[in-house]
């Protein structure tokens, strides 16, 4: 090969205390390509990219940009070397305009006016060149996440980046927005930019990249041409064993209606109407999946059902009305009615991170008779119970005395699931069950949810991962802007149709 790689890393190692985040990593990224880096959470992808962007200094190893050895002690140096980074969580100032965000740190002089004028001109040129249209005077807080991401890309291009690193860029996007992003990336590639795409989604790797590198436990396990590999092969490289990508389940045997929701409305504390009158039901022995882009009312729906928020309308469980605003509208009353809730944000609502695993397995059920001895808690009983749950749900490490925060995302989720599922609820509410969870654990969590369904329980699944909705649900409802856009059967729909519904087209339009 005659051209020098755009980026070449040689023998990069980085340890945080006893944890070896990156072990002797070498990689070559050729100019004008889209190079994917895939791996599970904690595989070391983000650490590697942080080293490249000057957030961390590698313990060992060398970095070459276009054949020249460079050192990148800070972000300033990375920017000077032509590297631009689009973080998973955007680094934008919410109450600044697009223009102000673009020039921040790349101003031409001490006064703002000339910089703003120049940036306005440059931005118009970039927009024309790469089809990246954004209103320069809009406030960040007023534009959607897709637009915000464009601003991040524009920030990098404005700083003359030749190498663009995108960290999990599609996590917050609708499928349509994601497609648009990939079109932009291809356009950038055609203009000679080099793109590194970090993701844990196999589909994106297969669709968008030219080459893919797989990371596992801090090591680079393989670099292959995308055209010469398959999702199954990549999954095995990521996890290190065979994994089931599709959920294995038999057709549902729906029974009686367990949950009936009629004309539910929710207004939040700021007076914004979050749910605008939705009606649906879930039967025993079936999984109803609610698809939608985050922020369209699905969180509020779960919160009302789980007793964390007030609403108006009618909700019946097993034919009896739930109290939506009064004394019995709290989460404990909901649990007494046979509703278990695995909340969307397990670290804030599902667990207390500083408490031990065994303590966490009792929350919400701490008034259980079995957990009391007179006035005191029967800690021995709770602990014994917890140890059983940990074993049955394969929580690793199997140590009930560890604090919740010491477990990985997947094992934290198993703790929450064990607590809720083992109460044998009639209705399980489950939000984002596999967000931030490794592929291996996803498989297990999906199996547990299906097993509960097969026991004849009703399950309401809320997820922003369309793949998860499609493979797990028996029926799919799409939520957009607080309204249900229609219902579909998984066998009779596809991602494209659901994606359109998630963007606000009603079922009839598609």
């Amino acid at each position: 090969m005659t051209t020098a790689p755009a980026i070449e890393l040689k023998g990069i190692s980085k340890a945080f205390g006893p944890v070896q985040a990156n072990k002797d990593i070498s990689i070559r990224v050729m100019p004008g390509t889209i190079h994917g880096i895939i791996g599970e959470n904690g595989a070391g992808k983000s650490t590697l990219m942080s080293i490249l962007y000057g957030f961390y200094k590698a313990d060992k190893g060398e970095i070459y940009i276009s054949g020249k050895k460079v050192s990148i002690p800070d972000s300033q140096a990375a920017i000077a070397a032509g590297i631009g980074m689009v973080f998973q969580h955007f680094k934008l100032v919410e109450n600044f305009t697009v223009l102000e965000n673009v020039i921040l740190g790349a101003e031409d002089g001490a006064l703002l006016a000339p910089s703003l004028r120049k940036a306005r001109k440059d931005l118009a040129a970039l927009a024309a060149e790469y089809e990246l249209n954004v209103d320069p005077d809009a406030l960040i807080q007023d534009i959607g996440v897709g637009m915000q991401q464009r601003v991040e890309i524009l920030k990098a291009l404005y700083r003359q980046a030749d190498i663009l690193i995108l960290d999990e860029p599609t996590g917050v996007l609708t499928p349509a927005e994601a497609d648009q992003l990939f079109r932009i990336l291809h356009r950038l590639k055609d203009e000679g930019k080099t793109i590194i795409l970090i993701t844990h989604k196999l589909r994106e790797i297969m669709e968008a990249t030219d080459t893919v590198s797989v990371m596992r436990r801090g090591e680079m396990t393989a670099t292959v041409k995308t055209s010469e590999t398959s999702p199954q092969a990549l999954a095995e490289l990521m996890v290190g064993r065979k994994v089931l990508l599709r959920v294995d389940k038999t057709p549902a045997q729906p029974g009686e209606k367990v949950l009936e929701v009629e004309n539910l409305k929710v207004v939040d504390s700021k007076g914004v109407v979050r749910i605008k009158g939705v009606s649906f039901d879930v039967r025993a022995g079936e999984i109803l999946g609610i698809a939608g882009v985050a922020g369209n009312g699905q969180s509020e729906l779960l919160e009302v059902l789980g007793g964390m928020r007030n609403g108006t309308g009618t909700i019946r469980v097993n034919g009896q009305d739930l109290d939506l605003t009064g004394k019995f509208s709290d989460a404990r009353s909901r649990r007494k009615r046979g509703i278990a809730h695995v909340p969307e944000d397990r670290q804030r609502e599902g667990l207390i991170m500083d408490f031990k695993a065994w303590e966490n397995t009792a929350f919400g059920y701490d008034d259980d008779e079995a957990y009391q001895t007179g006035l005191l808690m029967n800690n021995a009983a709770i602990r014994e119970d917890a140890e059983g749950k940990i074993e049955r749900f394969d929580v690793r490490p199997a140590n009930a005395d560890l604090e919740a925060k010491s477990f990985s995302g997947g094992n934290q989720q198993k703790l929450v699931l064990a607590r809720e599922i083992e109460r044998d609820p009639d209705l399980l509410l489950v939000g984002q069950p596999t967000r931030g969870v490794d592929i291996g654990a996803i498989e297990f969590i999906h199996q547990q949810i299906v097993a509960l369904r097969d026991k004849g329980k009703a399950i309401l699944l809320v997820s922003v991962e369309l793949e998860e909705i499609l493979s797990l649900s028996d029926r799919i409802a799409v939520i957009f802007d607080g309204q249900l856009m229609g219902e579909r059967l998984p066998a009779e729909t596809h991602e494209k149709e659901l994606g359109l519904m998630m963007a606000g087209m009603t079922g009839e339009d598609t």
Partner: protein, 321 residues
């Protein structure tokens, strides 16, 4: 109430608002950069003491002012060290600074001057003298506006005019310069500043230093402009009133001027009318004196509508992985 009385009250309000305005702008710089500072009070107090002590010893009010600013800067440095470098709790650091200043000024005052914690009274060049603005004399004859100029605006000390000039200056720096853009950004989302390759720590120290200088001026004005000596605890909660004014002003420079002037006005009214006879009821002097503090409580209780503080305020910045 005749026109002359109104003018006198306004004149006094402007003088009383000056230390509040300095302190409020000081807090504005600090909080806009994401560093909460309830130590404004302590910084003003220590500046007041050292400016009075130095002015008395050297006979120069200018040296006094510099000493006050320097003392305030030292405390700012401590606050910066605690809350930026060591990522400590900004409220606790601020409280500690208030205690430190309150104790130190009395202790050193007792040992140096042996006047029960006061400094001797300042005379001549050891105090700021009033400056007559040009044409004050000639314009005073013009009806209505003339006296407003010659009585209210003219005749104040140097620092009053500095404080007033600081308002447009602060606005310009914050909203028209690169430094201001970065300063506001670091108070909203330090990660954005960091990834843009700018030092979060450097910016925050700069903001804290500006805060120190302005608090120093506020203290110097208290002891050598408004008063004529340092008196124990002479700030009397002005640092906290300035914080309330800052919230009232929604962290904006022009609003800060209006808010602090309102507080100054209340204080001036209560000075002028120790007890106010409203015809049907006589407000006792205790109530009148408490007015600025009552307004502070009302404002802090949230009766001013929605004030959105800088988003990253109060949180130390830790680089994420």
């Amino acid at each position: 109430m005749d026109y002359l009385t109104i003018l006198q009250i306004l004149d006094s309000a402007l003088r009383l608002a000056t230390p509040l305005l300095f302190a409020c702008l000081a807090g504005l710089f600090s909080e806009r950069a994401g560093i909460f500072d309830i130590g404004l009070e302590g910084k003003m107090l220590i500046a007041a003491f050292f400016s009075a002590a130095t002015a008395y010893s050297t006979g120069s009010v200018w040296l006094g002012m510099l000493a006050g600013v320097a003392a305030s800067l030292v405390l700012s440095g401590i606050h910066g060290l605690a809350s930026i470098t060591f990522r400590g709790n900004q409220l606790i650091s601020g409280v500690a600074i208030n205690f430190l200043a309150s104790g130190l000024t009395v202790l050193i005052g007792l040992s140096w001057f042996k006047l029960g914690g006061q400094t001797p009274s300042l005379q001549g060049d050891a105090r700021f003298q009033g400056i007559d603005l040009p044409f004050a004399e000639t314009l005073s004859g013009v009806p209505l506006l003339g006296p407003l100029y010659s009585e209210v605006l003219s005749g104040h000390t140097f620092l009053v005019y500095v404080a007033l000039l600081c308002v447009p200056l602060t606005w310009y720096v914050l909203f028209r310069t690169r430094f201001g853009l970065r300063l506001r950004a670091v108070g909203e989302n330090p990660a954005a500043v960091d990834t843009a390759g700018i030092s979060v720590v450097g910016l925050r120290y700069a903001a804290v230093a500006i805060c120190g200088v302005l608090c120093g001026l506020a203290g110097a004005y208290l002891a050598t402009g408004l008063g004529a000596s340092f008196v124990k605890e002479m700030t009397a909660g002005r640092g906290f009133i300035a914080l309330a004014a800052l919230i009232f002003a929604k962290w904006r420079p022009w609003y800060a001027l209006y808010a602090t002037f309102l507080f100054g006005l209340l204080e001036a009214v209560s000075n002028r009318y120790p007890s106010l006879d409203l015809g049907f009821v006589t407000l006792p002097s205790q109530f009148m004196q408490a007015l600025p503090y009552i307004l502070t409580v009302v404002i802090l209780a949230g009766f001013v509508g929605k004030a959105i503080p800088p988003r990253a305020g109060g949180e130390p910045y830790v680089k994420e992985r």
